[in-house]
């Protein structure tokens, strides 16, 4: 059947071309994310050039420059990049796993769990810093476990998982509102800031846990990319193709939840990044290619760009989450309209 000549069939040519495009676009997005992050570092009260940045990294920059770059801007840009990637990747895996572009982890409970834990810590227990971080992560994880447990029926069924998640989220959000009422004026401000997602307190100590979790999360999910693709064909077809469906779903959910909880606890929930990264990446890559890396890159770009705008164009103290909210809402509707028109 296979001719011995090296001439490739039309199908083969198309497939290779698709793969090439995929690599190129993903590569371009990753480069774009780095470029935008560098831009974030360089812009500010003092505008630094690339040589300043390299000098600071080398240790050969003057004190003021080095401090500004290494202690203030670099950690902020890194946290923005890493957390953006985390939000994007988690969003993509949930949307693909549950087969629905609207099924972002934001609304199916995990974020609500982290929120209520964080607000409780701030307003009731007066926690901050690492303790706050830990509790918020715990909140996300516990909620995810609860939603999985409540929706389990011989396995993880997409529809039930989503609906139970929404129910649990409503409950937790109500508790959050109640806590906000009980809180005193000062705490309310802090809590509200946490709830909108902010990079103002980003520091080097945030980079490590977020960086590790996103890196590990990405590696796990990248190895499961093809499985994720097959899972979209439905439980029976996927099983017929040799996928251990329940095990795969659990692994994907657990990895995504851990990554998302850590990232949410680092910056607070930054609205819409999880939602939009996957669909935007799919549009750029032409659908149905595993686009985990691309989703992550887009998430990074969104958060870093929003941060740049929030810091420099707006009055300067606008949390990044506000920026993504203001722009993200309408963009979401437009995007979802376009994506959904093709069928969900």
């Amino acid at each position: 059947m296979k001719s011995s000549s090296t001439e490739l069939s039309p199908y083969s040519l198309r497939r290779r071309r698709r793969q090439r495009t995929h690599f190129l676009v993903t590569g371009a997005l990753i480069v774009g994310a780095i470029v935008v992050a560098l831009l974030d570092v360089s812009l500010g009260h003092e505008v630094y050039g690339l040589n300043d940045i390299f000098a600071a990294l080398n240790g050969s920059a003057p004190g003021g420059t080095a401090f500004s770059i290494m202690q203030l801007r670099m950690p902020r840009a890194l946290v923005a990049m890493i957390c953006g990637a985390g939000f994007g990747i988690a969003g993509y895996s949930f949307q693909t796993l549950l087969g629905n572009v609207l099924a972002s982890p934001d609304i199916i409970g995990i974020t609500a769990g982290a929120n209520v834990a964080a607000v409780a810590s701030i307003t009731v227990f007066g926690l901050s810093g690492t303790a706050l971080f830990g509790v918020a992560v715990g909140g996300g994880l516990v909620t995810a476990c609860a939603v999985i447990a409540l929706s389990w029926r011989n396995g993880l069924l997409g529809t039930r998982f989503v609906l139970v998640g929404i129910g649990v989220a409503s409950l937790l959000n109500a508790v959050t509102s109640w806590l906000m009422i009980r809180a005193d004026q000062w705490d309310v401000q802090t809590a509200t800031r946490w709830l909108t997602g902010s990079l103002a307190d980003a520091s080097w100590s945030d980079v490590a846990p977020a960086g590790i979790s996103v890196a590990v999360g990405y590696l796990c999910l990248a190895t499961m990319a093809h499985t994720l693709d097959v899972l979209r064909l439905g439980t029976y077809t996927a099983t017929g193709l040799g996928v251990r469906v329940n095990r795969a779903r659990i692994v994907i959910v657990v990895v995504s939840v851990i990554m998302l909880s850590i990232v949410t606890a680092t910056t607070g929930p930054i609205a819409f990044v999880s939602f939009l990264s996957g669909p935007i990446a799919a549009r750029l890559l032409g659908n149905h290619r595993p686009s985990i890396a691309a989703s992550g890159a887009i998430g990074s770009i969104i958060v870093v760009l929003a941060d740049i705008i929030a810091q420099h164009l707006a009055s300067g103290h606008v949390p990044v989450g506000v920026m993504t909210s203001l722009v993200g809402g309408p963009v979401l509707v437009i995007l979802v309209a376009g994506v959904l028109r093709k069928g969900v």
Binding site: L102, I107, I166, A169, L171, V175, S325, R341
Partner: protein
């Protein structure tokens, strides 16, 4: 058949009795304990005075508001579930509450509106927009609307509106204070002065709702059959939807967004009366106020002398019921297209 209707009658009578007693309790419980005699005296003797009587007099509007809001939300829930043929529909889930909330916040922040009679109009617009957006997004793609898609669309829009709300609120400390109390959904601070102007809206909503009921029974059979039976789909939907939006906007302006009442009460009512939408509506009109006033009383009782807002209590009570409904329901993702053609075989849709 006879036994069935006797049981139903008994249940309804018990519900009425419960409602009356809960209302009485509502007058008794609070930051200041009063006795039943003092309540009766306050109710019957207009010349009565004293701190106890004052407390009671404050609770009367609160109880009344609870009755009104419970009525409105439960009936709106019945309407929405019927129009969308979605057992999981409720004003919160379908975007009315988030739209209304966001509109109210905008008006609080930028137009300085402070009284419910003012921002009820804003709430109406916001609620309407929210509902339209949710319906639009949820009906995209193959298969028209399905319970899952509508719920997701509602959750998406809810999240979007709430981020927008946070974004607007952040620099406005003044608005945050008034907003956060409103946002949790509560009956405290109820005054007849604020309630009365909105009574016509409640009435209008209920009248429209009752008009739409016969058409809704036909709708339940599916679009094709309903048209075949001579029902005007568009008119019924429009009337029912408008009634729901009006009732929700009125409730939300007075009491903030309260969830789960519209979701859960229709199901309980249906368990008692069966699927006839008119009966479900009537029973829901009874159970809704019962739930809401009870939730308020529980909220006040548990944390005497302060209280837990009614919106929290309904969420805490309602979320588990919602989850239970989802677990029992099963094929919540069946699309309206599938349901229309779901005639013969038990085609097992792949999970």
């Amino acid at each position: 058949m006879g036994k069935h209707s006797t049981r139903t009658t008994a249940l309804i009578i018990s519900a009425v009795v419960l409602l009356l007693s809960v209302c009485l309790w509502s007058l008794v419980i609070g930051s200041r304990e009063v006795s039943l005699d003092e309540v009766l005296r306050a109710l019957t003797d207009p010349a009565a005075s004293g701190t106890a009587v004052e407390s009671i007099r404050l609770r009367i509007p609160r109880t009344t508001l609870g009755l009104l809001v419970g009525l409105a939300l439960a009936c709106a829930g019945v309407l929405m579930q019927a129009v969308t043929r979605n057992p999981l529909a409720d004003p919160t889930i379908l975007g009315l509450n988030s739209g209304a909330s966001c509109a109210i916040v905008i008006s609080m922040a930028f137009a300085g509106l402070t009284r419910p009679s003012q921002y009820v109009w804003v709430a109406l617009i916001g609620g309407g927009i929210g509902a339209v957006l949710v319906w639009w997004i949820g009906s995209m793609g193959r298969g028209g609307t399905s319970p899952l898609k509508l719920t997701l669309a509602g959750a998406v829009l809810g999240s979007m509106f709430s981020s927008l709300t946070s974004a607007i609120l952040l620099p406005r400390i003044d608005v945050i204070s008034s907003y956060r109390f409103w946002a949790v959904g509560g009956l405290s601070g109820a005054r007849f002065a604020t309630i009365l102007p909105l009574l016509p809206l409640f009435a209008a909503g209920m009248i429209l709702a009752v008009f739409s009921l016969p058409g809704l029974n036909a709708l339940a059979l599916g679009d094709d059959l309903a048209v075949g039976l001579g029902s005007s789909l568009r008119r019924t939907r429009f009337i029912a939807w408008s009634a729901a939006v009006i009732l929700c906007a009125a409730s939300t302006s007075l009491a903030g967004p309260i969830g789960f009442v519209g979701l859960v009460i229709p199901h309980v009512a249906r368990l008692i009366t069966g699927p006839d939408v008119r009966k479900v509506f009537a029973v829901s009109a009874l159970l809704g106020p019962l739930l809401l006033v009870s939730a308020d009383v529980i909220g006040r009782f548990i944390t005497r002398p302060s209280d837990v807002e009614v919106g929290i209590v309904t969420a805490i009570l309602g979320a588990p019921v919602f989850v239970a409904l989802v677990r029992v329901g099963g094929k919540g993702s069946r699309s309206s297209a599938e349901r229309r053609t779901h005639a013969h075989s038990v085609t097992e849709v792949q999970p």
